[in-house]
């Protein structure tokens, strides 16, 4: 276990160093001055110099990099170039709704995919299985923005059941909160449902051929028990890995979904920082998202070893 964690932590450090230094260097390469943009076309050379000093842009690159990394480690992410609000403050405002979005769709996709995946494996080769696999293909091939637009057209424009813009905070009005989350969560979850069904089916159909399943059946256990207690437990490991790897997709998906439904979360914050060329915000967000992704996968690997003690951690890449 120690080996695994050490390995992953090394990877985490390498990822963060690679991402942050690469972004830092690339940002240096671009023409354009954030100060000129901030003050506008009327900027005098003195004003720009003052602004440079304020944002410590006049310091050499390595010093600024060290400053920034040091700040991030202390939990101080710096301030936005464009409006001077600290990244931490904005992040505290926008993060909850993104986390809710990701969490709800993770729960929804698992709740739907697990029974269907088990069913497909149980009926492998049959009609149910084929129908499920075909629908999974369909679901995988819909880009989330296409799905979002179609859902808005049907449920907001046509039938007017769910709102198409924004999310009501949970603390303000729980029923409305969930109602406003329905379309975004479905949009985000559909591709994942397909991925999880397929993964679980592959895992389960391999598991169901193993000896211990035959033994369980010959002991006279009911199909249901064999499937859920013996089959699913053994197959859940593969699924778990996929859930971890999928967090990257979820993060990217959240950017799109927040864009479609006008939700003020991390994704929209990110896109706006791109549009406004607010590089400090951009850099911080990229680093945070990369770290989050590696951390989740570290957690999955640890869970993996906890669920199945036979697995010797650190032996697999």
């Amino acid at each position: 276990m120690g080996v695994l964690i050490r390995r992953r932590l090394t990877q985490l450090v390498l990822v963060v160093l690679a991402v942050t230094s690469a972004t830092f260097i690339m940002l240096e390469a671009i023409p354009g001055d954030p100060c000129r943009q901030r003050i506008g076309p009327t900027a005098t050379p003195e004003a720009i110099e003052l602004c440079h000093e304020e944002l410590s842009l006049d310091e050499p690159l390595p010093a600024r990099y060290a400053n920034w990394v040091g700040g991030v480690l202390r939990g101080d992410f710096g301030e936005s170039y464009s409006n001077g609000i600290s990244v931490r403050t904005t992040l505290a405002q926008v993060a909850p709704v993104t986390l809710q979005l990701v969490l709800y769709s993770l729960v929804l996709s698992l709740v739907i995919a697990v029974p269907l995946g088990v069913l497909a494996a149980y009926r492998e080769g049959g009609k149910t299985d084929k129908t499920l696999m075909m629908s999974a293909y369909g679901m995988l091939s819909v880009p989330s923005f296409v799905l979002g637009v179609v859902l808005i057209l049907l449920f907001s424009v046509h039938w007017q059941i769910f709102p198409s813009v924004g999310v009501v905070p949970l603390s303000e009005n729980p029923p409305e909160h969930f109602r406003s989350m329905v379309l975004p969560v479905i949009t985000l979850a559909v591709a994942d449902i397909a991925i999880y069904i397929r993964t679980l089916r592959t895992e389960m159909s391999a598991t169901l051929r193993e000896d211990f399943i035959t033994v369980a059946k010959s002991r006279g256990l009911s199909n249901r028990r064999v499937l859920w207690n013996h089959g699913l437990r053994a197959s859940s490991l593969g699924l778990l890995t996929f859930v971890g790897l999928n967090v990257g997709r979820l993060i990217a998906g959240a950017v799109v979904v927040e864009r479609i439904f006008g939700i003020n979360g991390i994704g929209n914050y990110l896109v706006n920082s791109v549009i406004q060329r607010d590089y400090l915000v951009l850099q911080t967000l990229v680093a945070i998202l990369a770290v989050a992704f590696v951390l989740v996968n570290l957690l999955v690997d640890i869970l993996y070893a906890v669920v199945d003690p036979r697995i010797k951690p650190g032996t697999q890449t």
Partner: protein, 277 residues
Amino acid sequence: MKLRGGKFGLFAWMCVAWLVIVTLFAVLAPWIPFVDDPENSDLSVFGDGPSWSHWFGVDEIGRDVFARVVWGARMSLVIGFSATLMAVIIGGTLGLVAGFRGGRFDSFVAATVDIALAVPTLILLLFVVAVFGRSLPVIIFTLAWLMVPFSARVIRAATLSESHREYILAARVSGAHDRRILRREILPAVTPVILTFALIVVGIVILLEGTLAFIGLGLPPPTPTWGSMISEGRTALDDAPHISLFPSAIMFLTLLAINIIGDAVQPRSGKRESGVI
């Protein structure tokens, strides 16, 4: 590597036919008489639904949606194919050499790939576009570059499993040197994997480009792309839904066709799919 015989049924052929049609339209767009100029706007008919003169209707500023979908397919295919070609050549070479040689170079490639894959693709894409601007070469190079680690990983795995087989040993024993084995034995053996994989990458690249365009950070207007058309049509969903729906449907069918063909030609092997879809 045997192809799944018999599984390539009618449905898969329909998908091939669809891709052929889309490609033909995209390639021949400037010369097909019934494909209008995608930037030509006729304000007298703006927002009109499908009709004989405008098969997919007209958008908010009077441009023919069908023509824009066809020209959008051109963009999608140019980006999809050129980015994939670059990614597979660079990533494939890395993967082949790393998987065959093993040793330090292999560990280095594997570790770098792990690190590169640890960052969500779309996030990196957004970042690069913010820095280098929204031009066609930037988008193609970035997408290619983003697909390199993924290509290297898949092709490395295929090479690795191939290089430990007996016939490679036999070739070595009969005196073939490394480069010959790589070119004459391993490359032909992993080619089916590379081709199947390349098809899937084309799908991923088209999807990513569409996503970028939808967010509003793809090729700048007035260049028609599927993603930007779907995005622009959103404001008119209540009275002119066709503006978003036609490009949506075409894009969905194209990605579906790519996925189904990719599955149908997948080399038969007991191995699990890789982690990226």
